[in-house]
């Protein structure tokens, strides 16, 4: 951490970069936004925007379960993050299993799970009128990120990048045509599950800093903007990661000066990118 702090002092001799919380937040943004940019490309390609949204919502029940477990076994000292992770992985599996049964359209199934998880979370957390202290999860607080959080985040980021490198080609093939992928020996189901798990983990890990309400916008907007101008997969990823990084860093700085919520400010800047690339797309065609 010390290396990072002195690096920031050296490279960014500005007033906003003096505070330790800003240095932490900056590192957090630099770690997590490229991942959002990367994963977002496949989420948009597979039309899974709604799915990532429901993962965010299910985190609320995860928090609630964490609180209950914490009350019953105070000695275990269970952090909400672990119950959130378990719950979002469970709900991901549940959604995929019900989806495979093919009884209703996918967005209906996701809608059912998403709203149920959200409602369950609110009911548990609002018992005895104590919901307000959990409202930080709705908007998120990037400035509260600590050094130990950053370590967890760093590990997750490395794991996700490695997994993403290993599974991407097969995943793309499966998203182009499932039977075509099978004909080339791709176990479509395995990759679908892996992808959903990666999404669940990254959404859950970052929810406390970004907020339930806007997490999926952060995943969708950079990729959607990039899609307007990219002509192949390489450009799609490069633009998406760049847009995510630039919006992340500039959103952090602006939120410091405006005194606004960081996550939402980042999303707004990504939205400006979307508008700009959309104009470019129209002008080209």
């Amino acid at each position: 951490m010390h290396i990072w702090y002195s690096l920031v002092d050296l490279l960014l001799p500005y007033e906003w970069a003096q505070h330790e919380f800003m240095k932490n937040a900056l590192l957090g943004v630099l770690l997590v936004t490229p991942i959002f940019g990367l994963l977002g490309t496949m989420i948009v390609n597979n039309k899974m925007a709604f799915f990532s949204d429901s993962l965010g919502h299910s985190a609320l029940t995860g928090i609630a379960i964490g609180v209950i477990v914490g009350k019953i076994f105070p000695l275990l000292g269970v952090q909400p993050i672990w119950s959130m992770l378990c719950f979002s992985v469970l709900i991901t599996i549940a959604i995929l299993i019900v989806k495979e049964a093919n009884t209703a359209s996918t967005d209906t199934i996701i809608g059912v799970f998403s709203s149920t998880a959200m409602a369950l979370g609110i009911v548990i957390l609002s018992r005895n009128g104590g919901f307000t202290k959990y409202s930080v999860y709705l908007i998120g607080d990037l400035l509260s990120i600590s050094s130990s959080d950053l370590l967890t985040l760093g590990i997750v980021v490395v794991v996700v990048i490695v997994l993403w490198a290993v599974i991407f080609n097969q995943l793309l093939l499966a998203s182009i045509n499932q039977s075509l992928a099978s004909s080339r020996g791709v176990n479509v189901r395995l990759y679908e599950y892996l992808f959903a798990m990666i999404m669940a983990v990254i959404v859950t890990i970052s929810i406390q800093w970004v907020g339930i309400l806007i997490i999926s916008s952060l995943l969708i907007l950079p990729a959607a903007s990039s899609r307007n101008i990219a002509k192949n997969m390489r450009q799609y990823h490069v633009y998406s990661v760049l847009i995510a990084l630039i919006s992340g860093v500039s959103g952090l700085i602006l939120s410091y000066f405006w005194g606004t919520a960081t996550g939402a400010t980042i999303v707004l800047i990504s939205a400006v990118f979307f508008a700009a690339t959309f104009m470019m797309k129209i002008r080209i065609s």
Binding site: A165, F168, L173, I176, S179, R184, K231, N232, H237
Partner: protein, 274 residues
């Protein structure tokens, strides 16, 4: 022995004189969500055969292809016997889908598709150096070299089909499955596709199963036809045999069949004159 069985299954109509490799589909059945979709499907295909599968909509033609691929769970066996009829191996299967699941605005280029299928290195990172050459060679087989940098969504129906055909032929499979789109390809594109498939079939001695909706082209290019109706193959043989079968006539309409048989007579007459 194998040849005898084969001839019987195909109602005495399929020539086994090639004596080469043979793909056998034995007693295929598919049940999905409690509904029987296919039962007792038996097909024997030899190298160099183009077998067209025809039948009414929803008869299970595409499902049969997916079952052969192993994408849909099924009962029964898929056997591939090599030239000497010694032992069986799992045949490698090439597949040309009816359409893509991708929406048209996706920034996936033709090169991306091939690179994702051929390499382990993630294509968002970079493409291996040799891939351009290989993809161009593949596309050349179906006259599609110029399409390499185009987006999949920007291709016309005919172009997309040629690209997918090129992909399914790299590497050359034992068995090629083609699922022809119901719409979206103009007549000229369709004829070009059939011509390309015919040339490939001769050059590579491929076994091909083709799900088709264009009976005229089937009559012209296929050397065997299987008619799927009521969940199974009701009739199998040469185009002449199948198109004069009563059930087939009932399904596709008497007019078409009459016209076909008349054309066929003309063709035979013309051949005699020449």
């Amino acid at each position: 022995m194998k040849h005898h069985n084969c001839a019987k299954d195909c109602q005495g109509s399929c020539g086994c004189e090639c004596g080469l490799c043979c793909t056998q589909i034995k007693n295929f059945g598919v049940i999905r969500g409690g509904n029987e979709i296919l039962r007792d499907v038996n097909l024997h295909i030899h190298c160099g055969d183009l077998t067209a599968i025809i039948g009414p909509n929803g008869a299970g033609k595409s499902t049969l292809l997916k079952a052969i691929l192993g994408d849909v769970p099924h009962t029964g066996e898929l056997l591939f016997l090599d030239a000497k009829n010694e032992g069986t191996i799992k045949p490698s299967v090439g597949y040309v889908p009816q359409k893509l699941d991708l929406d048209a605005s996706s920034p996936t280029s033709v090169l991306d598709l091939f690179a994702a299928a051929h390499t382990k290195r993630p294509i968002w990172f970079n493409y291996p150096k040799k891939i351009h050459e290989r993809v161009r060679e593949s596309l050349a087989r179906t006259q599609g070299e110029h399409l390499i940098n185009k987006r999949l969504g920007a291709l016309s129906g005919g172009e997309l089909q040629r690209v997918l055909l090129a992909l399914s032929l790299d590497p050359i499979p034992h068995l090629l499955l083609l699922d022809e789109p119901v719409s979206g390809i103009d007549q000229k594109g369709l004829e070009l596709f059939y011509k390309t498939v015919s040339i490939l079939r001769e050059n590579y001695d491929l076994s091909i199963i083709l799900v088709s909706h264009d009976l005229n082209l089937v009559a012209e290019y296929a050397n065997r036809v299987a008619f799927i109706n009521n969940k199974t193959i009701e009739c199998c043989g040469t185009p002449q045999e199948v198109f004069s079968n009563e059930k087939v006539i009932q399904t596709f309409g008497l007019d078409w069949s009459k016209r076909y048989l008349r054309d066929e007579k003309d063709r035979v007459a013309n051949a005699h004159m020449v």
